[in-house]
Amino acid sequence: MALPKYTEPHYRIWHYIYLTICGAVFFFLIAPLFVIFPLSFNAEEFLSFSDGMKRLDPDAFSLRWYKDMIYGTKNPWGLAAKNSFIIAIFATIGSVILGTVAALGLSSRHMPYKGLIMAVLISPMIVPLIISGVAIFFFMAKAGLAATHTGIVLAHIILGTPFVVITVTATLSGFDHSVTRAAASLGSDPVNTFMKITLPLILPGVISGGLFAFVTSFDEVVVVLFLAGLENTTIPIQMWTGLREQLSPTILAVATCLIILSTLILVTAELLRRRSERLRGINR
């Protein structure tokens, strides 16, 4: 951001101080993530940079911890990754279906008690996770679903739907309802209209809500801690146990993989957001 030529010197100084502060904050935000990356290639068992690494000696780096993550004996990561993906995928499907359908109803101008119902639907997002965890645990224990995949999937649907409801409602707010009326007037039934007209138009919102639901489930640990048995261990549970007991570099290898995954999700979400803005721009 260039300053105009006529800026007085002491404002100029202020401006550079401001830029420095911004730089420091950005550094504070992003730098911690980049510490994990090189350390996961450490040849030694320490969680700090060895002298060899500081000299960039190739022998100080290795893929040892990645091998341990994949092939290590008694390694829980394989099972945890499988469980995490299964749970997250089913939870996402459930959240997207329930959330999208509900958002369609909520966006209708005929919807009675809109404010109250909206408050109930997004409450799992506002209530602190620990309280949700206790409540959901009581329900699952009574229903006999504690320590089952089904129980955890249901729990994650509860936590994931608010994101879908919010993103899809936001997309629908710019939605031109005359196109569905046009479809109806041309003889299309409501289901067909939804599949052929509405869904393609609101798809960016649905997908980005789904991404939120996926990440929520994939990253969720508080509720799973109450619900999971040994069989249902997930990646966050394993990381939690590992971080509490002993910080091994294998965790950093897993963390690096997770950062790569989140980068992919970020890129997808960002592309979708732009597409959605473009689509809504056309409607205006």
Binding site: V25, V35, S48, A119, S123, I131, F139, F163, A269
Partner: protein
């Protein structure tokens, strides 16, 4: 005049008004049916269980069910002097039944919560009761231990007669009902929960302040830079936002450990001696630093979305009317960002007040919050009713804040990404 106008009819002869109302109702039902599956699902799996927590937190049937006859006999007792023989006889009857079921231990634990000293005298009563003779139970029970002849202990039993209790809520605030039935605080050095509540508020408050101070300048920069630069910088905000909470906590554990990079840096610039590295983790510092970084994106995003809508020409107008850049900022720009500040601060505060994972990992004993205490009672002591009571106390606090949020900003203004 309207009554004189001819009623408008639709083609099938039904008045338009009626037909319109019918269509409206049909639309209402249609919209509601779409919302119904999710609403029902959430009510069954989420809203009712929270109600269940409320029920558990005040439920005190255990003792009521263990001493049914005693409490019935006690109904007419005024609690002034020792109860009559019939109360003692009823108590004896209940007690023998409990001993048969091997449940007298539970009774002693429960009564000990109400008044210290029940454990030993119940043990003694169990031993002696085997050789009790029929009749005159008052004399016999009183001869077991002098506390059984103390009216205080009988009053303590009577206090457990109601099926519901506020005891768990009082315990959550380090208070209890004393012998006279008054609500008093526990001794100064045993007030652990108040310390935790205050610490939770303190950490949540300062994390919010730190987040605000850091987020404001960068949100402003992001909102004023040309698109191609701001999109690049936005990644610095969004990547942590999308990254697993545990990964971010792990990176802080690496950075803040005693042999970690932050300490290495401090030693390197000569701020601290190598043999005197400060403890930056497993205490409040750890909680502050990690929580601030983790919650920062939640402050930046609402601020950014508000600042994006403020036209730069407003600042120029302020300056051209004779204000210095600082005056223009303070009088023109800052007031316009207040909705964003409100949204960001309340969002961060609500999230911080219920934080569990990060304080548990980097907070140590002095940096843990009320959530950690709730989890402790859920998993270790198994005092679920107490965990429920504390959870609901926290929840009511959050709901008050949320209500404020709704008043000031409106729920519809929540924006994601």
């Amino acid at each position: 005049m309207s009554s004189e106008t001819k009623q408008i009819l639709t083609t099938d002869g039904i008045p338009l008004e009626v037909s319109l109302k019918k269509a409206e109702r049909k639309n209402k039902i249609k919209a509601f049916l779409l919302v119904a599956p999710l609403l029902l699902f959430l009510i069954i799996t989420y809203v009712f269980p929270i109600g269940d927590m409320l029920f558990r937190s005040v439920d005190d049937k255990m003792v009521t069910q263990m001493l049914p006859k005693t409490f019935k006999a006690m109904e007419n007792w005024d609690g002034q002097e020792l109860p009559e023989e019939e109360v003692f006889a009823a108590f004896h009857e209940d007690f023998i039944k409990l001993v048969e079921d091997k449940r007298e231990g539970k009774l002693s634990t429960q009564l000990n919560y109400t008044k210290n000293g029940f454990k030993s005298i119940i043990k003694k009563l169990r031993r002696k009761s085997k050789s009790f003779e029929e009749g005159n139970y008052k004399e016999q029970i009183m001869s077991v231990h002098k506390r059984w002849a103390d009216v205080e202990y009988w009053r303590a039993i009577k206090r457990r007669a109601p099926e519901f209790t506020s005891q768990k809520y009082l315990k959550g605030m380090d208070m209890y009902v004393n012998e006279e039935g008054k609500i008093v605080s526990v001794e100064e050095d045993r007030r652990i929960h108040r310390v935790l509540w205050l610490r939770t508020l303190e950490i949540a408050f300062f994390v919010t302040v730190f987040c605000f101070l850091m987020a404001y300048p960068i949100a402003h920069l992001l909102a004023t830079l040309p698109m191609k630069y701001s999109n690049l910088l936005m990644i610095c905000v969004l990547l942590p936002f999308w990254t697993s909470l545990l990964v971010r906590t792990a990176s802080w554990m690496i950075l803040l450990q005693q042999q970690g990079i932050v300490n290495d840096f401090f030693v390197g610039i000569g701020l601290v001696a190598d043999d005197n590295r400060p403890e930056m983790m497993y205490n409040k510092t750890g909680s502050y630093v990690a929580m601030t970084q983790i919650l920062l994106p939640f402050m930046v995003l609402p601020l950014y979305s508000v600042m994006k809508t403020i036209s730069p020409s407003l600042m120029r107008a302020g300056k051209s009317l004779g204000g210095t850049p600082f005056v223009a900022f303070w009088k023109v720009y800052f007031p316009l960002t207040i909705p964003g500040i409100g949204a960001g601060c309340l969002l961060v505060f609500i999230l911080a007040i219920g934080y569990y994972i990060t304080p548990a990992l980097v907070g140590g004993a002095s940096g843990t919050l009320i959530s950690n205490q709730i989890a402790f009672h859920m998993k270790s002591t198994l005092d679920w009713s107490f965990a429920s009571a504390m959870g609901l106390m926290l929840l009511s606090g959050v709901l008050v804040i949320y209500w404020l949020y709704n008043k000031l900003v409106g729920i519809d203004n929540i924006k994601l990404g």
